[in-house]
């Protein structure tokens, strides 16, 4: 067997490691050593802006953890600096004096931010935005200082600025040109971007040349060429990058602005390769992520001795990763006289689309507001496709009545090696393999497996198309489940995670930050968001009356004729002659059309006029029975050991206790209980959300029963001995359901989706979790008051919410 060759990689960044990952798929002929200067494993640098804005942690953006290196058989040396190359003897000299020999060398040293050489650039508080350390410095600064300036209104600068705004700083973006992202956008789209970002709280100083940074120890401000100035306690420079070429410069490797490589990523010295932002290929140094993957693919094949197409340069596409702002550009997007331009500028929907043609060939495009066509345009430009009438109609949405808008299947047009996810370098083949070989069927699963659409999410439509393409009709059902409503493509878990991570506190913040298509949401998502926010922030969230369904807003059940039903609380199904008398009195006085026993052991007063509701509540002097709410409805009980000759447990007391303790707290859906004194189960525990059955030694707790729309018998969760244990289990189960169920998902569906075992693991087998859940439930319970009492005592609310305006004598003009 041939001895393995030693491949030494200098640089533990995205470019080098992506190339190695690709190489390992092709061959095991190398023994690989990676030398990294940063003390971390390899992380996804383009996601630093998420770390900054707080939506991701450092762990989230680690691509390859240490275990990966071990399992791949790679020796990783972190915190090690290579200081000199000896290409004659094929050795790398290390800072600590040691020497690493190689057969093949790969330089992937990346780049560093360019720091403007102006006076004051070495003051404290002046940094670039490139590494995890920079993120740390910025977060630290945000905790102690107020004003920040970001020099550079390019991609990275704007992401940094948005991150700092999110951290609570007052941020001004200083930019030399008169408009933003001039290397990626044209003037109209840049203006739209600026307006959008201003709306999100960023300030701009455009056309400003920074001449000096002021301050003695720490920076205090900037002065500009026009004599004006700006205060700042933190200055982030984001004016460009400089390839890291120091190491190569000290050797005989040819270096220009970057390390010069040919179309196979070979440097001028045989056996020495370079990849990524430290390179210069055909005169171009790339500063974006997509070229790294394309270079890495060619390099891997070259190193593996596999035949490969040459790398002929990248057509650069850009997407801005700022929440709520969709911007995309690709290829040649600035128009020149010889170009033909297709331009759609919609000032109402704030969208912009420009397609640049040269001799009918699509050479570039800019999108703002709606970037659905980004993957398609990127591909058209890459392949140099001709514009056709059909394509024109598809791209402009101006097709005729029959089939004009039918998009041809892009997924089928892609070839295996085409990169679908530019952020994570995922090709069509990798996605198709995940679907076919691993049998994955949902976007989330493919995302987890391949990383596609994990970062900016821009390729999500394309990944969905691939799923659709491969799975055909069977994908439809999973796809329609995606968004919680037509306003968003996000599912419940994604929304709840974003609310937590981005600290969103109101419905408006959620719909804005997560780019809802209908700004104020709809009748489906608004009540759902209202629930999620109340569940996540129990102590601070202010319930939005306008986002409650009519029943929950009016605290009564609307009937089809617009009258209401009033159901007062009867704890455990128990009432008194006094209460019955009151019910009879108001029923007569307010002309109830029907008085009826409900299915939950209480009485409904049907046919009350809306304007009479507060008066009815006032005269009943009974708490609301919440018969209208996504909350605890009833606790059905049998008479238990107090009266029944078979009774073994006091079901009446426990039923009363449970109903009093958990009434009023918002649940994902209506919630019904039953408590039985013996296994004869007269109160029908098996069809309740939580059913409790007493026996001689204690209680059995059942969960997930339903006697309504879809009958389901409850599962046994656990058995407990004491009433205290019972209350704890009940509280923990309810809270776990509150935290994990979709809005409107009953426990019967929830338990099947989550799994009984999982619920048992959390509630029964894990005492810490149980304690946490019960504590959270206590917090949620501590903030509640009776809604009827509240309305009765608030004259203004009574008038505005329940009373009609009656115009008797119109003042005619």
């Amino acid at each position: 067997m041939a001895e393995k060759q030693k491949l030494v990689v200098i640089g533990n960044g995205m470019a080098g490691m992506n190339a190695i990952e690709q190489l390992l798929k092709l061959t095991d002929r190398y023994e690989i050593i990676v030398i990294g200067a940063e003390p971390h494993p390899n992380y996804n640098r383009i996601m630093l802006s998420y770390v900054l804005e707080g939506s991701k942690s450092i762990d989230d953006i680690i691509i390859n953890d240490r275990a990966w290196y071990v399992s791949a058989g790679i020796l990783l040396m972190t915190g090690c600096k290579a200081v000199r190359l000896d290409t004659t003897h094929q050795q790398v000299m290390m800072e600590d004096g040691s020497v690493v020999a190689y057969d093949k060398l790969l330089i992937a040293t990346g780049s560093t931010p360019f720091i403007l050489p102006v006076p004051g650039s070495t003051l404290d508080g002046v940094i670039g935005f490139r590494s995890i350390e920079d993120c740390g410095t910025m977060m630290e600064a945000a905790a102690h200082y107020k004003k920040a300036a970001v020099i550079g209104g390019g991609l990275l600068g704007l992401e940094a600025a948005k991150g700092l705004v999110q951290l609570g700083m007052d941020v001004t973006v200083v930019h030399l040109p008169e408009y933003l992202m001039e290397r990626q956008l044209d003037v109209p789209s840049a203006k739209m971007l600026q307006q959008e970002l201003e709306r999100q709280g960023l300030k701009f100083a455009l056309g400003k040349q920074t001449t000096a940074l002021t301050g003695t120890k720490r920076v205090t401000g900037l002065t500009f060429a026009d004599g004006t100035s700006l205060e700042a306690d933190l200055v982030v420079m984001s004016v460009g990058i400089r390839p890291n070429i120091d190491l190569a410069m000290g050797s005989d490797i040819q270096v220009n602005r970057g390390i010069v490589v040919n179309d196979y990523m070979q440097t001028s010295v045989p056996g020495v390769y370079a990849v990524g932002e430290c390179t210069e290929h055909r005169g171009i140094c790339y500063g974006l992520v997509a070229p790294l993957f394309e270079q890495g693919a060619v390099l891997a094949k070259t190193l593996a001795g596999v035949e490969t197409e040459p790398y002929e340069g990248s057509i650069v596409s850009t997407k801005l990763k700022v929440s709520g702002v969709d911007v995309f550009s690709t290829g040649t997007f600035l128009e020149e006289p010889h170009h033909d331009i297709i331009r759609l500028h919609d000032g109402w929907n704030r969208t912009y689309k420009k397609i640049v043609l040269h001799n009918r060939v699509v050479v570039g495009a800019v999108l703002f507001g709606n970037i659905d066509d980004s993957s398609r345009l990127e591909r058209l430009v890459k392949k140099g496709e001709q514009m056709t009438e059909e394509l024109y109609q598809e791209l402009t949405g101006s097709g005729g009545c029959c089939g004009g808008k039918a998009k041809s299947n892009m997924a089928a047009e892609l070839v295996d090696d085409d990169i679908v996810c530019g952020c994570n370098g995922v090709t069509k083949k990798m996605i198709v393999d995940a679907i076919v070989v691993d049998g994955l069927t949902t976007l989330d699963a493919v995302k987890m497996k391949t990383g596609a659409s994990r970062s900016c999410g821009g390729c999500k439509p394309m990944v969905e198309q691939l799923l659709q393409h491969v799975l055909g009709e069977s994908f439809q059902s999973t796809q329609t489940k995606q968004g919680i409503c037509g306003c968003t493509s996000l599912c419940r878990d994604e929304i709840v995670a974003a609310i937590k991570e981005q600290q969103l506190y109101t419905i408006t913040e959620v719909t804005q930050a997560l780019a809802w298509s209908q700004a104020e949401g709809c009748s489906k998502c608004r009540p759902a968001l209202n629930y999620y926010l109340g569940m996540l922030w129990p102590e601070t969230y202010v319930d939005e009356r306008a986002s409650r369904f009519v029943n929950e807003r009016m605290n009564a059940n609307i009937q089809k004729d617009g009258t209401y039903t009033v159901v007062p609380r009867m704890y455990g199904g128990m009432t008194t002659p006094e209460d019955l008398k009151k019910i009879a009195d108001v029923s007569i006085k307010y002309k109830a059309s029907l008085v009826k026993m409900t299915g939950g052991q209480r009485i409904g007063i049907i046919g009350i006029q809306k304007e009479d509701l507060p008066k009815v509540w006032e005269e009943l002097e009974m708490p609301s029975g919440y018969a209208y709410a996504k909350a605890l409805r009833t606790v059905k009980t049998c008479v238990g050991s107090t009266y029944c000759r078979f009774g073994t447990q006091d079901s009446l007391s426990i039923g009363d206790l449970i109903e009093r303790k958990f009434e009023r707290v918002d649940m994902p859906a209506k919630f019904k209980f039953a408590v039985n004194g013996c296994p004869r189960n007269c109160a029908e525990s098996c069809t309740k959300d939580i059913g409790i059955v007493g026996n001689d030694g204690g209680w059995e707790i059942y969960v997930g029963g339903n006697g309504g729309i879809k009958a389901r018998l409850a599962d046994l969760l656990c058995k407990v001995k004491t009433d205290e244990e019972l209350m704890e289990m009940v509280a923990a189960t309810m809270q776990y359901y509150r935290e994990t169920a979709n809005y409107l998902e009953r426990t019967s569906d929830w338990i099947e989706r989550v799994g009984l075992t999982q619920v048992q693991n959390m509630i029964v087998h894990d005492a810490d979790q149980r304690k946490r859940l019960t504590a959270s439930m206590e917090i949620a319970l501590s903030k509640l008051e009776d809604p009827w009492k509240k309305v009765v005592g608030d004259q203004k609310l009574r008038t505005a919410l329940f009373e009609k305006v009656i115009v008797n004598e119109p003042c005619t003009h």
């Binding site: 104020e520 009748s523 009609k804 305006v805 115009v807 119109p810 003042c811």
Partner: protein, 115 residues
């Protein structure tokens, strides 16, 4: 609309009498009109769902210029009363003006015909 001559201007209260995005019923000459206030506009519609089963509209959920009917969840554009797809129909709308704090309904002579 311009040919309507006999138009009456009826004061229905102060702007503050109407909660944002929570509708309120206004009874004028025996007819009930649902009045809605958003952060930027006020709208007035006949308080009767165009759904075959009818029912009130004033308890619906408001999103921008749209109203989701409280009983059957039909989506209605409050600007012109048009029911949005996949359902269809139209609700009668009334012009409404705000002068200072006062809110006025403009009702044409023949608009409020009792049934």
């Amino acid at each position: 609309m311009s040919e309507v001559r006999a138009e009456r201007k009826i004061c229905i209260g102060k702007q503050d009498d109407f909660l944002e995005r929570v509708g309120r019923a206004v009874e004028v000459e025996g007819q009930v009109i649902a009045v809605f206030r958003t952060s930027t506009h006020m709208y007035a519609l006949l308080d009767r769902s165009p759904h075959p089963k009818g029912g009130p509209l004033n308890e619906g959920i408001v999103s921008g210029s749209f109203l989701y009917d409280p009983l059957y969840d039909w989506k209605i554009d409050m600007r012109d009363g048009m029911v949005q797809e996949p359902d269809s129909g139209q609700v009668q709308t009334f012009p409404l003006i705000v002068e200072g704090e006062d809110v006025y309904l403009l009702i044409a002579g023949n608009q409020l015909v009792s049934k």
